[in-house]
């Protein structure tokens, strides 16, 4: 744990990060920007897992292992989303959310 820093301050930082992600997710109109906001949200949750593991249950490893799994799933999700965005751009020449009406292959 960090000397002089309580768990409350760390949780405050992650809560702020989470809500910045939600703000970007709702206000952005571009598929890639929405993807980036999802990364912010996922990162906030990963930090929460790690912090709670370190401060409350220092002898366990569950938090670390779950954060590794979350990072792996996030990487897979980003790769798939980017490929979908590139395919969509090839078909409708745009990555704006409002143009995305065609979901048929």
């Amino acid at each position: 744990m960090i000397s002089g820093i309580s768990i409350y301050e760390l949780l405050t930082v992650t809560s702020i990060l989470f809500f910045i992600g939600i703000y970007g997710f709702i206000t952005r109109k571009n598929l890639i920007s929405i993807l980036m906001s999802i990364e912010l949200i996922l990162n906030a949750s990963v930090i929460n897992f790690v912090i709670i593991n370190k401060y409350l249950y220092p002898d366990m490893l569950q938090g670390v292992i779950f954060s590794i799994f979350i990072i792996a799933v996030a990487a897979a999700e980003t790769a798939l989303a980017v490929s979908i965005i590139i395919n969509l751009y090839r078909q409708i020449n745009s990555v704006e959310v409002k143009d995305t009406e065609l979901m048929k292959y």
Partner: protein, 174 residues
Amino acid sequence: MEKYIFYILAFIIIVFAIASVTSRKMLRSVIYLLFVLSGIAGLYFLIDYNFLAAIQLTVYAGGIIVLIIFSVILVHHIEMELEIAKTSKQLFVGLSCLLGLGLFLTTIYTHEFNVVENYNTITTSDIGLKLLSYEAGGFILPFEVISILLLAAMIGAIIIAKGKKLSDKNDDTI
């Protein structure tokens, strides 16, 4: 000393996260996201989880950012500015996010955590042994499931990004 490093890191994370979701230049906002992810890796180093920090640096700052930059360059002109939401909508979403943040913080600050004072370090071999152990509390099954998931995502990404069905290609050449 560690205290001040934490405050600097938290400041970097929050300022660049806000810049990343409000910047109108696409490529800049990706670079701001890179700074946020590096700051988070610094946070992991600070609480002595070196392996996670290395993963954060290689997978997020190295892999995902490069992937997003590639997709930005493939689908945008670099100079293009993003369309921005209506001011009323921005204000409404910002206010409701602040409301939710207040709710979160009141819940966190009224809860009493049983913090255990400790300074022990977790080595990488501990994590590896835990991931591969098949005894009670081991994680061998999720580990294998994740490996299958990554393989499936890789194949799926290749097939989707290719665009056409594989059989159509033969028809075109004839």
